[in-house]
């Protein structure tokens, strides 16, 4: 499991627009680099990132090799109700890493 850092205000007010910052440890191998024998190092990147809020998708990103290693993505959402935010990172092979965070809306 890759290390993940997720940050957002834990107790926002209802209707407040909150900024969510996400950072995941991943090399994001571009598929354009050569190893020291001249062979291409195969591409291996996170190609999709989604965030759902109590089951509904509120943000989605398609990522390409031009995204930096250890991808950082910050986006906003409206704090509508308390519940669960689920963050998913999906790589080229379809492997998914999901992280769940509680949000308490006052």
């Amino acid at each position: 499991m890759a290390r993940v850092l997720i940050n957002f205000p834990p107790r926002p007010k209802r209707g407040e627009i909150i900024e969510i910052k996400t950072l995941i440890q991943h090399q994001m191998e571009t598929g354009y680099r050569l190893d020291n024998k001249g062979a291409v190092i195969p591409r291996d990147i996170i190609s999709r990132f989604t965030c759902t809020y109590n089951g509904e998708e509120v943000f989605r990103a398609e990522l390409f090799p031009a995204m930096s290693a250890n991808p950082f993505i910050a986006f906003s959402t409206v704090a509508t109700e308390s519940g669960e935010l689920v963050f998913s990172w999906i790589d080229d092979n379809g492997q998914i890493q999901s992280e769940i965070r509680q949000i308490t809306v006052e």
Binding site: N36, F64, A66, F75
Partner: protein, 150 residues
């Protein structure tokens, strides 16, 4: 002793000793970018405006370039940003990322970090709910780091 190290000399010295070298594609990315943008917008007009693409004008390393893109929009059900697409001019591929928003976003603003292989232009295109396309661009100068593994 005068320091006569120039970028050219360091690059020449580094060639052939690299552990991993970068292989750029055959130079047609500007065309590929135009094609990729056409694929997105189709016949619809593309106008500069509404979008603000923020990138540093010069970076010390092309591996991690911070980017923020925002679009003026009330982000209501009727009037919101559906998606923001980032393209580049000189990397092997024209695509960088596509972000899908919607009224639940509250505001249309995304920050991330990208890789730029060389000094080049980056373009951000926003698609609004009414099907219109708006854009902004930024030029970035990419310098090489000194004293690397190669």
């Amino acid at each position: 002793m005068q320091l006569l190290l120039t970028r050219r000399r360091i690059l020449l010295a580094a060639s052939g000793i690299g552990l991993a070298s970068f292989v750029p594609a055959a130079g047609a990315t500007e065309e590929a970018m135009a094609g990729a943008i056409r694929d997105l917008t189709g016949e619809a007009p593309l106008a500069p405006g509404k979008v603000k693409l923020e990138l540093p004008s010069i970076v010390e390393n092309g591996n991690t370039v911070p980017l923020t893109v925002s679009v003026e929009s009330p982000m209501t059900e009727a009037d919101h940003v559906e998606s923001i697409h980032i393209f580049n001019q000189k990397n092997p591929q024209p695509y960088i990322a596509a972000f899908h928003l919607g009224p639940r976003a509250g505001k249309a603003s995304v920050a991330t970090r990208i890789r730029l292989a060389d000094s080049q232009k980056v373009i951000a295109i926003a698609r609004l709910a009414d099907g219109s396309f708006w854009s902004d661009s930024a030029d970035v100068i990419v310098t090489l780091a000194a004293c690397t593994e190669q």
